[in-house]
């Protein structure tokens, strides 16, 4: 399993990686901005993408749209955001996200959601 984590907060990346590694979720990749994420997405096939909405260069929503519309991939995408506004959630699902988690969140909850998506 290859999981890409796109998040500009290094502390959060470290925590998510730690948690997913503990749960033996496979190989974990990180991108700290939208541009880096795009390059990784072009070069690799991931089983899951976890992305924040607010990132430098390209937002998580742009990234989701890029995966669906340009790369034409059905890779599951979990969107993380501090904005739990209805519009943002709907927009995320509209561009092709599979799940949405509002920050602050519980790492245990994230792990459960990741497992559920990967086991589908």
């Amino acid at each position: 399993m290859k999981i890409l984590i796109c998040e500009d907060d290094e502390a959060l990346i470290s925590m998510i990686r730690f948690k997913l590694a503990r749960e033996n979720m496979g190989e974990l990749f990180k991108a700290t901005d939208g541009r880096e994420a795009k390059v990784l997405l072009q070069e690799n096939d991931f089983d899951l993408i976890i992305t924040d909405i607010h990132m430098p260069y390209h937002s998580g929503l742009e990234l989701t749209a890029y995966v669906r519309n340009e790369l034409k991939k059905a890779t599951p995408i979990i969107v993380l955001s501090a904005e739990g506004l209805e519009d943002t959630v709907l927009q995320a699902f509209a561009v092709g996200a599979n799940d949405f988690i509002t920050k602050p969140f519980s790492p245990a909850e994230l792990a459960v959601r990741v497992k559920r998506i990967l086991n589908r």
């Binding site: 907060d9 502390a11 959060l12 925590m15 948690k19 503990r22 602050p104 969140f105 245990a108």
Partner: protein, 374 residues
């Protein structure tokens, strides 16, 4: 025998010039050296902080992921073990403890539930609140603000009296930090400190309070009419807008009284709120304001809009029709829209008025009937 400087270069002026140049060069070298040393110290500090942050982060991850603070399956000793690691890592060094506080804060802002509680417990077990409290006594306002932020993030309620001292501070950022800290810390008596608040409530503060309140249990929110007669106008305006946002209809009688306020801003927000809360029972109070607001374009617009929401054919309609002859174009537009909202009778009167006045409102009517603008 060595020749004197002035013998070589000839003249006192040249000597003076050479001495000044030498002093200038020495000073320049000294300044460059100081800058270099400062930079070296700063980079060394940053490097040490980065290394320490990574090490703290690893231990904090372990604390967070195990979520061991409240579960029976996990021995408490595991948590104690991690605490011991952090104690060894940071010792009593202020620098290291600050890096640890920053790491905890950074991580906690994104986490909830048991993970966030584990981080808070780590903060208290290591007595880091003492360092945050010390900052409140600092000479620099930035450090005080940092201390306030840390204490509020960690929910240290014992610091409320200390933080309250900064509520009316001269430095606006410090004031805002203390204000927001009190909003967060006083969750059982939300916003009580507004009673004594004398400074201006900035837009930033209003947005933050509103954001905070939207995440609270509605039943715990205060009745905002409590501050409708506050001596600070910005508090009055804020509480009216909060009564509107949270649809506190129990505030309506107090709100109707505010229509006679001498402050035009208060009257304006009160009119808007009565309209948005659909307070039909106060339509006559609003109608009575017509003469007073006539010369004020913004107030006239708000009044027309409010009547569009709460008025009907019996009361309010006549006033709205009057606004169609207001000197300001924007008021005509608002009045036309209000008539349209009042139903078939309003629409008929609008059409009749337009016909009787040589189609003066034709463009407005076309505009408000545009489906894309609905």
């Amino acid at each position: 025998m060595m020749p004197a400087l002035r013998d070589i270069h000839g003249g006192a002026d040249t000597t003076f010039f050479i001495v000044v140049t030498l002093i200038f060069l020495t000073l320049s070298v000294f300044i460059v050296l100081m800058l270099f040393i400062t930079r070296m110290v700063k980079s060394s500090y940053q490097r040490r902080a980065a290394v320490l942050r990574v090490r703290c982060q690893k231990i904090l991850n372990a604390i967070v992921i195990h979520e061991l603070y409240s579960t029976a399956q996990q021995p408490v000793s595991a948590f104690e073990y991690r605490l011991g690691e952090l104690r060894m890592l940071t010792g009593n060094a202020g620098f290291a403890r600050q890096v640890l506080i920053d790491s905890i804060m950074e991580l906690k802002k994104n986490l909830s539930g048991a993970s966030a509680r584990a981080l808070t417990a780590t903060y208290y077990e290591l007595a880091l609140q003492r360092r945050s409290l010390l900052k409140l006594k600092s000479f620099f306002w930035k450090r005080r603000a940092q201390g306030i932020r840390e204490l509020s993030e960690m929910g240290y309620k014992e610091s409320i009296p200390e933080i309250m001292k900064f509520l009316n501070a001269g430095e606006p950022i410090l004031r805002q930090e203390s204000f927001m800290a009190l909003v967060r810390l006083e969750d059982d008596r939300p916003l009580f400190f507004l009673d004594d608040y004398r400074q201006d409530l900035t837009d930033w503060m209003r947005i933050n309070i509103y954001y905070y309140l939207t995440r609270q249990d509605v039943r715990k929110l205060p009745v905002f009419s409590r501050w409708f007669n506050h001596p600070n106008t910005s508090v009055v305006l804020f509480s009216i807008s909060m009564a509107r946002q949270f649809r506190q209809t129990e505030s309506l009688p107090e709100l109707a009284r505010l229509l006679s306020s001498p402050d035009a801003g208060v009257v304006s927000v009160a009119i808007q709120t009565l309209g948005e809360l659909e307070a039909n029972q106060y339509v006559s109070n609003v109608v009575r304001l017509t003469e007073r607001v006539w010369d004020d374009e913004k107030l006239s617009r708000r009044l027309a809009r409010c009547l569009g929401r709460i008025g009907d054919a019996q009361e309010g309609l006549e006033t709205v029709v009057r606004f169609l002859s207001h000197p300001a174009y924007s008021v005509h537009q608002e009045a036309a829209l209000a008539l349209r909202k009042m139903g078939p009778e309003g629409v008929a009167i609008l059409a009749q008025f337009n016909a009787e006045n040589e189609g003066v409102l034709t463009r407005i009517i076309r505009h408000i009937e545009e489906p894309l603008l609905q």
